[in-house]
Amino acid sequence: MSAATPVPAPGAEPQIHLRPGPGPCDGDERIARLIRRQGRQGDGLIEVLHQVQEIHGYLPKPALLQVARALRLPLSRVYGVASFYHLFRLQAPATHRCAVCLGTACFVRGGGRLAAGLQRRLGLALNQTRDDGTWALEQLSCIGACGQAPVLVLDGVLFSAPLLDQPKALDCWLTSLGLPAGVETR
């Protein structure tokens, strides 16, 4: 980070001194706009972070700085919130995300075996992303689709997994979903 003096947002109270992020961070007009729309209320921080994540796919550091400045909150508070909640990502997400549910109903119906099958197939541990950023394997704890258990969410689409006791059939099914097979990159 550079040591230049931060440029306060128009009308900002000067008492909070944040170190500036890389140059264009305050210039993200989309973030500035959504914070204006939200009314610059500190208690709306979580809502703001949700929207920032919608724009970027994750919460880049410059964006967190911009949010802190615009809401007149210490960066520690913004970062604290961003890192506390599971759904906020501080790293860019993988191109494809496969999330397996390990809620109780899925667990009882063989979600563990499904997770193990996915780990083998993608060559990833749970909550791990491939180095090339193409695939991530995540775990969820209940998304309320217990009637379809066990389930996985592939790039935002929910699927109910059949035939867990037949590894070959399960593999065929995963192939039909477009999951790469037999990957050795570990």
């Binding site: 709306g44 809502e47 909640y85 759904l87 109903a105 667990f107 009882v108 209940c142 217990c146 258990a149």
Partner: protein, 554 residues
């Protein structure tokens, strides 16, 4: 309600809630609507049934009466989704697992254009579900009265079904004290798991010194295996808003929040739409229903933290902070949001309020059992034949719910245990299934009512593994503020690993029990205090599985 009285003009109701959506409800709904618009025949791109095309086009040219295809909330039997109900002169028929390709065949049947009778229609017959089975027959819908009937995206439908009638009546005819009196008399207890008497909580808030008050709906349904609140939010959001508005009037609040977990995008979308519609109709906002009562409600979306279901953590989260609990007292009813008295109730609690006002507190209190009045919604899942949502009178036996209604183990085996109360609850063994479902009975067995998730465990699942599953959840969800929960759950998980991997010693068993007692006694909030429950309850009812896991060295 799923089965409706016979009606002259036929109608289709297609469940478009999350559960059925994940089973393919959206393309099915589109195909049904297309088939209905086309007079029975499906347009290009959607495979029609293999009926004679001539018959169908003849039907279309006769311009049949428009057929209503309604998008509704949960039709209960989620495991057979997507579900479609056909209401007609002969009552309701229910179909499960229809593919979009079967839509035309169903519409033909509804219109009486099919060449085969329903019982011989190959596209439909194997999909028809028995509405007389105990799963449906033993339900007592109060909270879910409108769920599955009204279109949750149209306030007109909710109004026609009676929503907001009690709010209007209450505002014009009853004092806040009179409203609280009815809720007290109903014996309603908090449906989020704690079971605190709702009337008492409302009184506590109402009787605080004058000043601002808030009302908050806890819709952070985080227990794995629980989807009751989601079904209310997605299936009948106006009932919840009405209940919340009545509560706000009863305690003197003019501002409120609905805190919904981000994992429920459809619920959030429908709730926001419902709020907007209610404002347009003058049922929220300034001077509601022509009275001086004003109420602003806002949706706040969580961000994936189980601990935010704990009320003080939830309040922090609404204020844009980390979801970290604090010590009580003061209770939120005394000092909650921004220090003001705050009423926090669960979705199901608020949704029970309109029916209590409509029928009277005494009427409601006559349902259920001593100490646990009214009905409770449960979500049945796991190793069970009929997965879905049931609303039953309190005091019904677990066996009735799990075996009679739920149909028992899908493979015909015996049920091993029933898990209630999520990560804070415990496992009840099969030989205690005759226990009545009420707050006290479940507590006495080392479990708890919880929010209503009921996960059935089959013979193939080892109980130490179940305990480890929940402990891993608690480790992941501990907020980290207090040491017993942050470090204790990690140590408990490591001990449980030893049992699952069959390398535990007698000393491990002792340590496990001692640590459970310590974490339970010394944690700051409910999450940590209840985290040992799955271990303690399985130790109590399935101890032999732990002792059998002791390694040879012990």
């Amino acid at each position: 309600m799923v089965a409706l009285p016979p009606c002259e003009r036929p109608r289709l109701r297609c469940c478009a809630a999350s559960g059925c959506r994940s089973a393919g409800a959206r393309p099915l709904l589109a195909a049904l609507r297309a088939a209905a618009a086309a007079g029975g025949t499906a347009p290009d791109g959607i495979a029609a049934g293999d009926q004679a095309a001539d018959d169908i086009s003849a039907g279309a040219s006769a311009a049949p009466e428009p057929l209503e295809v309604r998008s509704v909330g949960c039709l209960r039997l989620c495991g057979e989704g997507p579900l479609v109900a056909w209401d007609g002169p002969e009552g309701t028929r229910l179909f499960g697992g229809l593919a979009p390709a079967a839509a035309a065949a169903l519409v033909d049947q509804v219109r009486g254009l099919a060449s085969l009778p329903l019982a011989a229609d190959p596209a439909l017959v194997s999909h028809q579900l028995d509405l007389e089975q105990p799963f449906f027959r033993l339900q007592r819908p109060l909270v879910l009265e409108g769920c599955g009937i009204v279109d949750p995206e149209r306030i007109e439908a909710a109004l026609a079904h009676g929503s907001y009638a009690q709010l209007r009546r209450v505002l014009h005819e009853l004092s806040p004290e009179a409203v609280r009196e009815q809720v007290r008399r109903s014996g309603l207890r908090g449906r989020g798991g704690g079971g605190y008497p709702t009337g008492l909580k409302w009184d506590t808030v109402a009787l605080q010194p004058p000043g601002r008050r808030y009302v908050v709906c806890n819709a952070d349904e985080g227990d794995p295996g629980a989807f009751m609140d989601r079904s209310v939010l997605e299936g009948d959001p106006h009932r919840l808003l009405e209940g919340m508005a009545i509560a706000a009037y009863a305690v003197g609040a003019d501002h409120g929040y609905l805190y919904v977990r981000a994992e429920y995008p459809l619920a959030i979308e429908r709730l926001r739409l419902a709020l907007q519609q209610a404002r347009q109709q003058g049922l929220l906002g300034p001077s509601i229903a022509g009275t001086a009562f004003a109420l602003e409600l806002e949706v706040r979306v969580g961000a994936g933290a189980y601990v935010c279901g704990e009320e003080t953590a939830l309040l922090h989260s609404i204020q844009g902070q980390r979801g970290i609990p604090r010590t009580r007292p003061p209770y939120p009813a005394q000092a909650g949001l921004w220090g003001a008295p705050t009423l926090i109730n669960n979705v199901e609690t608020f949704a029970a309020v309109p029916v209590i006002l409509r029928q009277g507190g005494d009427w409601y209190a006559a349902i259920g059992s001593e100490g646990s009045r009214g009905t409770k919604v449960f979500s049945l899942s796991g190793a069970i034949r009929h997965t879905g949502l049931v609303e039953v009178p309190m005091g019904i036996s677990l066996r009735t719910v799990v075996e009679t209604m739920g149909g028992g183990d899908p493979d015909g085996g015996a049920v091993k245990a029933v898990q209630t109360g999520g990560p804070s609850g415990g496992c009840i063994p099969a030989d205690l299934l005759d226990t009545p479902v009420d707050f006290e009975s479940l507590l006495s067995l080392g479990s708890m009512m919880g929010s209503g998730g009921m996960v059935v465990i089959g013979q193939g699942t080892a109980m130490p593994e179940v305990a480890r599953h929940f402990m891993a959840f608690s480790v992941n969800e501990s907020c980290g503020k207090c040491v017993p929960c942050r470090a204790g759950t990690v140590q408990l998980l490591a001990l449980l690993d030893r049992f699952v991997e069959q390398r535990a010693t007698a000393a491990d068993l002792e340590a496990l029990e001692a640590l459970c007692a310590m974490v339970k006694a010394t944690s700051l909030c409910g999450l940590g205090q209840a985290a040992p429950n799955p271990v303690l309850s399985t130790l109590r009812h399935f101890r032999q599985e732990y002792t059998a896991a002791l390694g040879p060295g012990s």
